[in-house]
């Protein structure tokens, strides 16, 4: 863990214990960065083909091919700055809001390219929901937090139906028992873990197909984290989930497939169990055995 923070604060080559830049010379780089393992699935929900993202001139990720299956949890791991969050934010076009960000390649949801000019991002983001690193409930009541999505998408104008949606979403997010008596209290008054589950309830209230989670537990204590992980396992039955995480144990606990990213490349994809027990690529092995990151 200490090494992770060290990595985050310093640039890569100066790392004392593992000098990555020196270990790979230019000719080796190309071959070393071919994705190991099979990133493709038979019946995918989302597909990424040759995705490259640029922030201005800088290339954040390049040539990524990966599928997201139905009813699976895909974990994306890798050291800071490897591009996993960037890819995640491409999946519901949240990167559109970043000035100077450019996405190349093709990302499809149910066979439809979401970067096609004819696609409207508003319904897309309803279909691909997102949970952020820091719990970010609206400074409104718990009820309004969950009801906001269904309201703006015009799911219902009926008060009873809306109540129903809110209740089911909160039940699914495992928060109902804790908040059912205080739905009108501000969502910001909940504890961190509850806030994050409220954000999950808010995301599933618009019944998305895919839920993206960007380090959803990094701001939470271990007990709250355990609850969220349980929740993820339950949600998998209904949704596809893509989770970015720094905690490798978390990835191994919640996910079915794991993708390891390194400096903008997808290094290795495979069933979580195999990745953590028998990584094929040297970089993956180094990372999960804690030689860096």
């Amino acid at each position: 863990m200490e090494l992770t923070s060290h990595l985050a604060s310093q640039s890569f080559p100066t790392l004392p214990t593992y000098d990555f830049a020196a270990s790979l010379d230019k000719t080796e780089t190309q071959a070393a960065r071919q994705t190991v393992g099979n990133p493709f699935l038979e019946n995918p929900r989302m597909t990424c083909r040759d995705v490259a993202v640029f922030y201005g001139e800088k290339e954040a990720i390049r040539g990524i091919n990966i599928d997201v299956g139905c009813n699976e949890v895909l974990a994306m791991i890798g050291p800071s700055g490897c591009g996993k969050s960037t890819l995640l934010r491409c999946l519901n076009r949240m990167n559109d809001t970043v000035p100077g960000c450019r996405v190349e390649g093709e990302i499809c949801l149910d066979g439809e390219n979401i970067y096609d000019p004819s696609v409207d991002v508003v319904p897309l983001r309803a279909r691909v929901g997102m949970v952020f690193q820091k719990p970010n409930p609206f400074p409104k009541s718990i009820f309004d937090n969950v009801a906001y999505g269904p309201k703006i998408h015009g799911f219902t104008t009926d008060k009873a139906e809306l109540d129903n949606i809110v209740e089911t979403s909160l039940i699914k997010a495992g928060l109902w028992e804790e908040v059912k008596d205080r739905l009108q209290e501000p969502g910001t008054g909940l504890s961190g873990g509850q806030q994050q589950r409220l954000c999950i309830a808010r995301a599933i209230a618009v019944s998305p197909e895919v839920i993206l989670m960007d380090e959803p537990c990094s701001a939470l204590d271990p007990i709250a984290t355990a609850k969220i992980e349980e929740l993820i396992a339950e949600l998998r039955e209904q949704f596809s989930i893509v989770i970015v995480t720094h905690a490798m144990q978390q990835a191994s606990r919640v996910s079915q497939r794991t993708a390891y990213f390194h400096l903008g490349d997808l290094i290795e994809v495979g069933p979580t169990e195999r990745i953590f027990t028998n990584p094929r690529h040297r970089l993956t092995e180094d990372y999960i055995t804690g030689r860096f990151g």
Partner: protein, 436 residues
Amino acid sequence: MNNSKQTVDKAAEKKKPMKPFSVHMNKDLQRRYRAEKWFQRSGIAAIVIALSFLLVLFASIIGSGYTAFRQTFVELDVHFNQDLFKNENIAAADYPAMIKDSLRRTFPEVKERRELKSLYMIVSPGAAFSLQDMIKENPRLIGTQQKVWVPANDDVDMLVKGQMKASEAEDNRRIKDDQLAWIEKLEKDGRLETRFNTTFFTSGDSREPELAGIWGAVKGSFYSLLITFLLSFPIGVAAAVYLEEFAPKNFWTDLIEVNINNLAAVPSIIFGLLGLAIFINFWGLPRSTPLVGGLVLTLMTLPVIIIAGRASLKSVPPSIREAALGIGASKMQMVTHHVLPLAMPGMLTGAIIGMARALGDTAPLLMIGMVAFIVDIPGGFTDAATALPVQIYLWADSAERAFTEKTSAAIIILLVFLICMNAAAVILRKKFETKW
């Protein structure tokens, strides 16, 4: 690397034996605490100095202005002589003659023409208007004799309030000895008293200090500020929201931002000149009106509101924006449902502070003719009017002694308005402050 550092440390140790840590620390700590104390004390001293200046300012203004809220009145036995109401139009009757008649009857010993003239000076020229108002209200008074309280002349007022000393040499005061005697007699008969000065709050400007009031200026300021608020707040908020949330970051928006900041720093008299050139000369809007005043003040307030608005939009955490976008709110919904409500208290505060500045600003109004002497109380946006700060400027310029206290009183009124507006800003901020 670590090794080399250790050797350096060892060398230093050899040169100068280290004192025990506690000794070293104590000395250093004391020095640090001293520095902090010194800093705190100088801060307190600065605040005390600033507050005492403010106190001196308030004390001097209130001290010289509070007397303006009282006014001396004289009681006269007025005979509404039937003969003077021969004309059909009762408003055109010779009311000054009735005043003079009653004064002559009060002091029958005064006969000489010059003496009479100075006797008439005791009562305000506005006394005739009070009679006119009485008759207008109740025409049946014609032919009767009534006891009427009419305002005294400003010089009498000054004398009664003690701002003119009877002990001074006769040549140095405007009330002469014979007048002094009459006033003393009136006082003895209980025909002279000071009352609350309602005129000051209900009438417009006048050349006679005892008839001058600030209501015209207050209404002029109100109309101007109403225009200013109605224009500058929506435009300012819209501009701030567009620039902060929608506009692309490029050369042009940078240029606009720089120029908005420049506009906020432009001296207000320049805006006055602009108003004169564009609104009055080019568009042909009427001079001296709250309409033009409000437009000019809008120009002045807009950059302030835009800058405050952008600052409060910036202070809304980006996580709220992401949350809204993340569940499929459109950008417009994100702004109107989440960002604007959170930024609104800050925006309102900025707007109120901008408005307070506009309320106190004089220079641009001088340029567009709101400095004219206007007796009538404005009834709308296109009536000629003055504004509060301009009224202060006008009265400060007047020769009559009684205008000194009126000036201070008007400043008190202006300060009260400013304090109320700033308090409203603070209360709004406190009330709508959202925590997340």
